[in-house]
């Protein structure tokens, strides 16, 4: 950026001040979350508004991990989120590939339908879905959650994957086919390695979304041993007469996988949106 070269010192100071503001705004609530989690129970309310607690403890984490069902919730969530991420990415990659590489009858209609699925209140279909799923006897099953989450994440994931595929020249696959590959071999040997960042971004995006979903999990799961983490966390409210410290500790633990995933994918997310989605 040539413009950046002739910035005045005042502008530079303003820029770093702005960066600092954003950083504080983004991280302070997270800090508060952690702060409450490590504050000893006795001090949660007496030092409630103090920015730095006078003592820290890992008791809450210990309790959460050893004396609650947290690990089971965590495992369920991990299973559902990983399953959703994997299936969605696979399905969306196939669909995105078709959108990127083929012209076919009904393409516009399909895109419109996918956009509309992003448009209506999900609440509207919770009751019908509940009914359908209870009729096929899949209530309290983590598989049903995976199926539902997958369907809801497909449209965005498809657009994301399409924009990644758009960034890979069609020539490459054609060259591979001329070299004797089947389309599948061309996909596997040439397109797949090149679209790894895209697959990673999509995986991470869907994982994060599935990890934090509450509404459907609340509706479709009522048995304790099938609860995902967000639902389980809500039970902390009643079970332990709202033990804030423990709840926060559980929250902090739950943040770890999605944040890790997110830190890993966010660069690819920008990259993916840059290559294709902008044309829209």
């Amino acid at each position: 950026m040539p413009a950046a070269l002739r910035r005045s010192p005042a502008a530079t100071v303003a820029k770093y001040a702005a960066l600092l503001c954003y950083l504080v705004f983004a991280l302070f609530p997270l800090y508060w979350l952690i702060k409450i989690a490590v504050t000893p129970d006795a001090l949660v309310f007496t030092e409630g508004t103090q920015v730095i607690p006078s003592a820290v403890t890992l008791d809450n984490f210990r309790t959460v991990l050893l004396q609650t069902d947290f690990l089971s919730y965590f495992g369920n969530s991990l299973y559902v989120s990983l399953g959703t991420a994997a299936v969605t990415t696979l399905v969306a990659a196939a669909a995105g590939y078709a959108f990127s590489r083929f012209d076919f009858a009904g393409k516009k209609l399909l895109i419109a339908v996918m956009l509309i699925t992003q448009m209506f209140p999900l609440l509207m279909i919770i009751a019908p879905i509940y009914k359908i799923i209870s009729q096929v006897g899949m209530l309290n099953s983590l598989t049903s959650l995976i199926v539902v989450y997958t369907a809801f994440n497909i449209p965005f994931a498809t657009f994301l994957m399409q924009s990644f595929f758009d960034g890979i020249p069609k020539d490459l696959e054609e060259a591979a086919m001329m070299d004797g590959s089947t389309r599948f071999q061309a996909l596997y040997k040439v397109v797949f390695p090149l679209t790894l960042p895209g697959l990673g971004a999509t995986l991470g995006f869907v994982f994060t979304a599935a990890w934090s979903e509450l509404l459907f999990a609340l509706m479709l799961i009522s048995k304790n041993d099938a609860m995902t983490f967000p639902v389980g966390l809500l039970t902390f409210v009643s079970k332990f007469s709202v033990d804030w410290g423990q709840m926060m500790a559980a929250g902090v633990l739950a943040l770890v996988p999605s944040c890790l995933f997110f830190i890993f994918i966010q660069r690819y997310l920008v990259q993916g949106l840059t290559s294709g989605a902008v044309k829209g």
Binding site: G48, F120, M124, I125, L214, L233, V278, G280
Partner: protein, 316 residues
């Protein structure tokens, strides 16, 4: 087969390779995309579209789990009830307020962040990863965190606001009908700025660098460069992102639901939380669907207007 072809070549005799008989390439080209699309189509069809149609049909029925014997088709009765429902109109107004302020503040802050991230500075990678983190936080957790931050007993915000003279004394704004909605809006901004920043940053990065160089040579000031090049280039992306985000936020009930539950005195009740309470507190699914259909229509009209404006105003 390959071996034979090689031998054929070596001896320079023409042994035609037997092409495997297969259906016409043409047919294959027609069918192939649908083979890739079918899982997506089946899933969206069964999990979203069919329930959606059932859901719409609910709005023409009376389905109250508390009055199971009254169920059946009722025509437009639910819609008539909606028209004269004062709570619906309040919720509609709140929806506008909530959506407008959430979207515009998210957008402005997101644009600022994207512009900053599009420059070079020390530690940029780490900064970008950290500043985007709120997006990865599960929404109910964000909601809880912000609820505490606004709580004068365990959160610092009321005290700071009082120190700044914005509040007369440190009290919980979530309990004040005048101000309560700003609590969830604040949480929403925190949670949503990264989304705008990511999409706008992507758009910014796809503006060709030569354009800036040309503008520089032409002697454009920083502001002129921004308003004459950056903004027009971003406009299509802005239109789409703002549209999708508006729809999403209008439907987004989690934050309000956890932070205020629609109260106090319905002052934070938006349409989607109203749908939720109607469906799962009153167990009146017919009426809940009616409200949802109304919201869907409003959003559809809104998107059509945005798309039309975009076509009219943006020439790229």
């Amino acid at each position: 087969m390959e071996g034979r072809a090689v031998i054929a070549r070596a001896t320079k005799t023409v042994v035609p390779r037997r092409p495997r008989a297969r259906r016409s390439l043409y047919l294959q080209y027609l069918v192939e995309p649908f083979a890739y699309l079918s899982p997506a189509i089946v899933l969206i069809g069964t999990v979203i579209l069919i329930p959606l149609i059932i859901g719409i049909s609910y709005s023409f029925q009376s389905i109250e789990l508390l009055r199971p014997f009254d169920s059946g088709w009722v025509g437009f009765e639910n819609y008539a009830a909606l028209w004269s429902d004062r709570k619906f109109w309040i919720a509609l107004e709140n929806t506008f307020f909530w959506t407008f302020w959430s979207v515009s503040l998210q957008f402005l802050l997101g644009l600022g962040l994207a512009l900053l991230l599009n420059t070079q500075f020390f530690g940029k990678r780490l900064f970008q990863a950290l500043v985007f983190l709120p997006w990865a936080v599960p929404t109910f957790l964000s909601a809880l965190t912000w609820a505490w931050l606004f709580n004068p007993v365990i959160g610092p915000l009321p005290h700071w606001l009082a120190d700044l003279g914005i509040l007369s004394e440190p009290y919980n704004i979530l309990g004040d009908p005048e101000l309560a909605i700003w609590g969830p809006i604040m949480a929403n901004i925190w949670f949503g700025v990264p989304f705008f920043a990511i999409t706008l940053l992507a758009a910014l990065q796809s503006i060709p660098g030569e354009l800036y160089e040309a503008a520089e040579i032409d002697g454009a000031s920083a502001w002129q460069t921004f308003s004459k090049i950056t903004l027009p280039f971003l406009a299509p992306m802005i239109a789409i992102t703002v549209m999708l985000r508006t729809i999403w936020i209008a439907n987004f009930a989690d934050l309000i639901f956890v932070m205020t539950g629609g109260g106090p005195a319905n002052s934070t009740q938006i349409l989607s939380t109203y749908i939720f309470t109607t469906a799962f507190r009153k167990l009146d699914f017919g009426y809940a669907s009616t409200i949802a259909v109304a919201l869907l229509l409003i959003l559809l009209i809104y998107s059509l207007i945005v798309l039309w404006l975009r076509k009219k105003l943006i020439k790229i």
